[in-house]
């Protein structure tokens, strides 16, 4: 999209033109979604966060400084909205050996190509607190101090969460070559558990009846 076109769209959005709003939304949908997907636990949460972000974009459009790139402004809003969304459960931390975090993932990783969906799937499996710190540190490039200020946590928590995130991601990357066959196994376990419970219950009832 050309710069002139973008300025026109922004002007239209400022006049609350629904058509222009949709055009702008569509134009930045992929970009915004790619950020939110990284921070969110799943596709649905990502869409919810993204829409909240776009609402901020539309309502604060008059505050946008035209001298700066618009896409960076949108990206910043999306990131902040994502962080805000999970702010309530970001405190999760472990007081493990923090310096060990730096050593994870240096040498042991195999030289394999993983596609976008695989990587996104892995990052989305992380707990919210780990995922947020990993995103901010590894992908956005913030320091632990910056992350600590932004999230309202201590640098220790930030380091600890990064450590746990890397540890989990490493396990997932190393295991990614194997076929995930534990899904059906899981269901089988659940059925057996429920079966055992009902047998136990019927025995209990029988016992009580006597």
């Amino acid at each position: 999209m050309g710069e002139a076109e973008l300025q026109q769209l922004i002007a239209g959005c400022l006049q609350q033109s629904r058509k222009d709003q949709k055009m702008l939304y569509k134009a930045f949908y992929g970009f915004a979604m790619s950020i939110c997907l990284r921070y969110a636990g799943n596709r649905y949460e990502a869409a919810e966060i993204m829409n909240q972000g776009f609402l901020k974009v539309f309502t604060n459009l008059h505050k946008y400084d035209t001298g700066r790139p618009f896409i960076a402004w949108v990206g910043r809003i999306m990131m902040n909205t994502s962080v805000d969304y999970y702010r309530s459960n970001l405190k999760l931390s472990l007081n493990d050996d923090l310096d060990a975090a730096e050593d994870i993932g240096h040498n042991e990783l195999p030289d394999q190509k993983l596609n976008y969906d695989d990587l996104l799937g892995m990052i989305q499996q992380l707990p919210n607190a780990y995922r947020t710190v990993f995103n901010l540190f590894a992908i956005e490039g913030f320091s632990h101090e910056e992350i600590a200020t932004q999230l309202g946590i201590s640098t220790g928590t930030s380091k600890s969460n990064l450590f746990k995130a890397r540890e989990k991601l490493k396990t997932m990357v190393l295991n990614s070559g194997r076929l995930p066959d534990n899904g059906s196994e899981d269901i089988r376990h659940k059925i057996i558990a429920i079966g055992a419970m009902s047998v136990g219950l019927s025995h209990l009832i029988e016992l009580i009846m006597r």
């Binding site: 609402l55 730096e102 040498n107």
Partner: protein
């Protein structure tokens, strides 16, 4: 930062995840919810939440009102009982007098009233001893004395008096069910009441003389009493009648489409209000929040949007996760109750209000990328699910019981966007609270 730039893992993710904007296709449904946000309309979620709050509030108020109503009724019943002894003390003396003057003993049927003179002359001398015989006949004493007394005195009653009498009598009759044990003095209160009544009637009757009317008066009042007499036997049932129980239940359940072969475990929790119509029958309703994950094949999923498309274009597998508000309406029959244990079976219909439906569609050959769909609060299936359940209830104390309830829910209509035959089965466990446990004996 040491290692920040060189960390291989970080780099892997940074490279893999950036520049992915083009992979993400635009979705109209996201814009639709964006428009809702822009219009500042409350989202469907909020609307549903509001409905839930309102219905909960209404239910609570109803519960309170009904509870108060029955509580007050029970108080009244107690007051009635409290009045009884009073009458007893008041009438102690007259009763004994009565036994000399008046006969309570039996006239077996109203036909005999046609010859009042002879009958009553004979009976007039009788007291206690005969009374026992009378009670052995099993006729309620009140009735007997009443039928008898008018003719005894050969005293006709003027039209107003029979009227009074019937009212008084019927009021007393409500309490007279048990035949007297000992008539001479310590009679069970109902008879005493009846006896004083008859005395008053006699006194009143003695003052008037009109030989033409006694029989008609007697026969008129008899049927009235008969109908009124039925009431006391009904009353206790009504009093024990609607009891209310409130249960909190939770259950793991198995969800599957068409058969229970490919099933997934969901959870389910909610409240259940039981309205006990009689000892054996009860109606139960309530609300429960259920998370129902399931897996289906493309052919089991029949979305309207899929119609007319070739089967090659359609996904082969569907995995879904639905959040459902389940409002059941069941009729339960208690077939066994002994000691603390009760067993009941029940059936009825449930309404499913689909709060949120998440679907993940995937293709067997991996030729096309899998995709997700989310639908919020679009589908409501009113009375669309058949419930079958069995309940085992064990009483802990007069107020609380534990409940174990295996159940099965079979849809009559298709559930959700895909109109799937989503069956659920499980065992609910919960605690039931007896709201009005003070049952009259």
């Amino acid at each position: 930062m040491k290692g920040k730039n060189e960390n291989k893992l970080d780099q892997l993710f940074k490279d893999g995840l950036s520049g992915s904007e083009d992979h993400i296709a635009f979705r109209e449904e996201d814009w639709a919810s964006m428009e809702r946000l822009l219009d500042n309309k409350p989202s469907k979620k909020a609307v549903i939440r509001r409905i839930i709050y309102y219905s909960a509030a209404i239910a609570a108020i109803l519960l309170l009102a009904v509870g108060l109503f029955f509580f007050n009724r029970n108080d009244k019943a107690k007051n009635e009982l409290a009045v009884k002894p009073k009458i007893k003390t008041d009438t102690q003396l007259p009763v004994q007098k009565n036994n000399g003057q008046n006969n309570q003993p039996a006239v077996k049927d109203s036909v005999k009233n046609t010859n009042p003179g002879i009958e009553n002359l004979a009976k007039n001398n009788v007291n206690g001893g005969k009374n026992e015989a009378g009670s052995a006949l099993g006729v309620t004493p009140g009735k007997r004395s009443q039928q008898n007394n008018i003719p005894v005195n050969q005293n006709p009653v003027n039209p107003i008096i029979p009227g009074n009498k019937t009212i008084k009598d019927s009021a007393d009759k409500n309490k007279t069910v048990v035949p007297p044990v000992d008539n001479n003095n310590n009679v069970v209160d109902p008879t005493k009441v009846a006896a004083t009544n008859t005395q008053k009637q006699n006194d009143l009757a003695a003052n008037t003389t009109n030989p033409g009317q006694p029989d008609t008066a007697g026969s008129k009042t008899a049927p009235v009493q008969q109908t009124k007499k039925d009431k006391p036997s009904l009353k206790p049932i009504l009093r024990t009648g609607p009891r209310f129980t409130l249960a909190i239940m939770a259950a793991p359940d198995l969800n599957a489409v068409n058969s229970f072969n490919r099933n997934q475990v969901g959870t389910n929790f909610g409240v259940q209000l039981g309205i006990h119509l009689s000892k054996k029958l009860s109606i139960s309703t309530g609300a429960s929040y259920a998370v129902k994950p399931y897996q289906a094949t493309g052919s089991q999923y029949n979305s309207i949007a899929w119609q007319g498309k070739s089967s090659n274009d359609l996904p082969d597998y569907v995995s879904a996760n639905c959040k459902v508000l389940d409002i059941p309406l069941n009729l339960n029959y208690q077939f066994y109750a002994k000691g603390r244990n009760k067993f009941a079976i029940g059936s009825g219909l449930s309404s499913y209000i689909m709060l949120r439906e998440n679907y993940h569609f995937s293709f067997a050959d991996g030729s096309k990328p899998s995709y997700d769909v989310q639908v919020d609060g679009r589908n409501q299936h009113w009375l669309g699910v058949l419930n079958l359940n069995a309940t085992y209830e064990r009483r802990i104390n007069s107020k609380f019981s534990t409940i174990i309830q295996p159940y099965m829910k079979l849809p009559v209509t298709g559930i959700g966007v895909g109109r799937v035959d989503l069956r659920s089965t499980g065992v609910a466990v919960g605690v039931s609270w007896n709201i009005n446990p003070f049952r009259p004996k």
